[in-house]
Symmetry: C2
Subunit: 177 residues, 2 copies
């Protein structure tokens, strides 16, 4: 899996193939195919093997500061080279291959969303957010604009942009009638 | 292009090929390759050939009602079969092929965003939104969660969900200090 990532960083996802990974790793391609059915599946596991402890949420008691810190860290990892272009390619692969989509959701998207929800829920329980605060919608309003800019508009994300999204979310949600 | 869409609806994007389109249309594949360099490019033009007048914004003077009507219509077209799965596949292709990404942005995403911005700006000029209302961010907070659910979480979108996003946006943005 380390070989897959190294090669991906060197030549990009489009040129990556199971044959090329096998050649670089010095194993037969069937050794790889026995464990991974496609390039997308191999690549997903390789990206997931990265240390993602940076993506855990701190809990300093200040929900806004903690969200900022975690989302800045996630963006620095997932939106910048070398991982950024590979992560975008993986999502492209997931949109074309339902098996990759299911694995990506089960092993990365859903667990990450659960961490965000848990941190928001703790803040609500501590009275930092109003009791009616809509946790699921908040999750989407935090993640959605970032994915939209990264995947659709394809512009680089900045910390300042993240801060504007967070501000809009909290100012908005707390002012609900 | 009509043949491409017909075939796409029948067999899905993954199985679609320029050869299959040529065979169905009764032309040589070189006839198609002369105009489109890849399956992604052909498919993009085919989707763009659909009548998209439903995606124009009404201006009844009520910004919330007009956004709701337009976004519901866009969602009914882009998220539901038969177009929905094909549109998601096209975005997957765009993430793997920068030429398709550039064409998709130039011919669809940017013009649509400009329509949304124009409608929001008209509302701001009419005093329906505060002078400091952040049009670009509003655009992302409207589109982002919808794309996030459709592409990443891969759950079906509902009109009720759109309404929650719109409500969060306006309650939020208008309550800013």
């Amino acid at each position: 899996m380390r070989t897959t990532l190294e090669l991906g960083k060197e030549i990009g996802y489009a040129k990556l193939s199971i044959e090329a990974v096998a050649a670089r790793a010095g194993v037969g391609k069937h050794t790889i195919y026995r464990r991974w059915s496609s390039k997308g599946a191999l690549f997903l596991d390789s990206l997931l093997s990265l240390n993602k402890s940076d993506l855990d949420y701190p809990d300093t008691g200040d929900i806004v500061a903690d969200l900022r810190r975690q989302i800045h860290a996630a963006m620095d990892l997932l939106d910048r080279p070398p991982v950024g272009p590979l992560y975008r390619a993986l999502i492209g692969e997931a949109l074309l291959n339902p098996q990759v989509a299911a694995a990506l959701n089960d092993h990365f998207i859903t667990p990450q969303a659960e961490k965000t929800l848990a941190r928001l829920k703790a803040a609500r329980d501590q009275g930092q957010l109003s009791p009616g605060f809509d946790l699921d919608l908040a999750m989407d309003i935090l993640s959605g604009p970032l994915y939209f800019r990264a995947l659709i508009v394809q512009e680089p994300l900045t910390h300042e942009y993240v801060d504007r999204v967070i501000e809009a979310l909290f100012t908005g949600m707390e002012c609900r009638p």
